[in-house]
Amino acid sequence: MFFMSKPLTMRNSAAVRVEHVTQRFRVIHERPDSMRELFTNLFRKTVEYHEFEAVNDLSLEVPPGQVLGLIGRNGSGKSTLLKIIAGVYKPTSGSVHVAGKLAPLIELGAGFHHELTGRENILLNGLLMGYSRQEMQERTQRIIEFADIGEFIDAPIKQYSSGMHTRLAFAVATEVDPDILIIDEILSVGDIAFQQKCFDRIETFRRAGKTILFVSHAMRQIVEHCDRVVMLEKGSIVVDGDPQEVTEVYSNLLTPVLAPVQ
């Protein structure tokens, strides 16, 4: 079914292909936020900044159906890489090809508007993710069932608890039948029952042959769910391979930091 609907991916065999991608950020120490500052800076003639590469000449190929784990320390470039793949950032150089429909679970409920009801937000969020009104209307009922927040669905979401918020957002993002799912450390919210529900859903996706990119700091989750793990450090891939091995390398890397005293 997956292959049938995406004949192009057969020829171009990767679901996600990242080629020599660099994302350079300019950190301006005193950014001219207003024209007054711009003018004063004009007199000073210099704007102080430094540049750094959050992702540095990185290439990565993810075949369809693979569950890829991304690990690395804070600031190693995991989230930036996911945002580039999701199309939020346009990379400074390099190219990204994504075959199929992509659902980013980067920050859940980013498009939610707190004055609108859950039901209204389902539609708006779906449209923001690039689905049509009709597609969303067909799925609304299933989304509501999965989110399982009862009558709150017709209340403005500013009255939601953060758990309910997450439930609804996860339901919207995954009920839309994406080919590629991007998950960035979002599963730490919600109660245990809901977390389990989310992992069940991820397993369903996995069995359906969907591609999943997964960032987590919980090594147990990584080993349990991933086929392959990539470890990032300073914006580059340093280790790439079997989940068990890569997570061990990562744990060893962190150990000296955790136990500096001999």
Binding site: S34, V88, A110, G111, L123
Partner: protein
Amino acid sequence: MIELVQSIYRYRELIWALAAKELKVRYKRSVLGFLWALLNPALMMVVLTVVFSTILRFPIHHYAIFLLSVLLPWTFFSQSLSYAVESIVSNGDLIKKVSVPKLVFPVAAVVSNVVNLLLSLIPLAVLVVLMRHPFHWTWLYLPVPIVALVIFTLGVSLWFAAANVYYRDIAHIIQILLSAWFYFTPIIYALDFIPANLRWLFKLNPIIYVINGFRLSVYYGMLPRWSSIVASFICALTALLIGFWFFRKHQDDFVFYV
């Protein structure tokens, strides 16, 4: 330009949903709800009519209609611009997290105000009847200046929305700019009031041609000259070209500045 039309068409559902959200949020939690979209201009008209027919008496017959015929389109223009200028920045959180065409935000801001403009024509028509002002057939011509005005507004909005990402001062400047622009446009007065030797200066004002179309058709029951219609569309399309070009050039960078 074709690209602009294509992407507006492609994202029409999203644009419409955002515009509807804008309207819904604006009128939510008010008892009369959406009725305010009608009541607001109606009440404003009552005030203006009372003021100009009793206190300030201008030597213009049915001054309230004379004024409102162009004040309503002007209000559309200035409201759209005020909304659109902040539209990218206020959706910054979203832009930083979801890959979404940036264009939809200023366009939705303008669209939501188009709804208000069209609704405000209803109380205007009522007023025309109540004041026994002739109800001219030239009302049928109104879609033409409305289209030109929307195009013009969209262009200006795109430019300012993009510029405001880099310099937040734009949002403040625009209010002053709008009020200056208001007084230098023949809205509360007619172009005839301006000394003949200065009139050329007013004709440089790009919004004057489209505004003129509204007043002629609603108040005077006349159609504008061809040259004036063409001028209004030239101004509108130029504004759209510049605005869209500028917006497109910078849209991939917005995410780093919002």
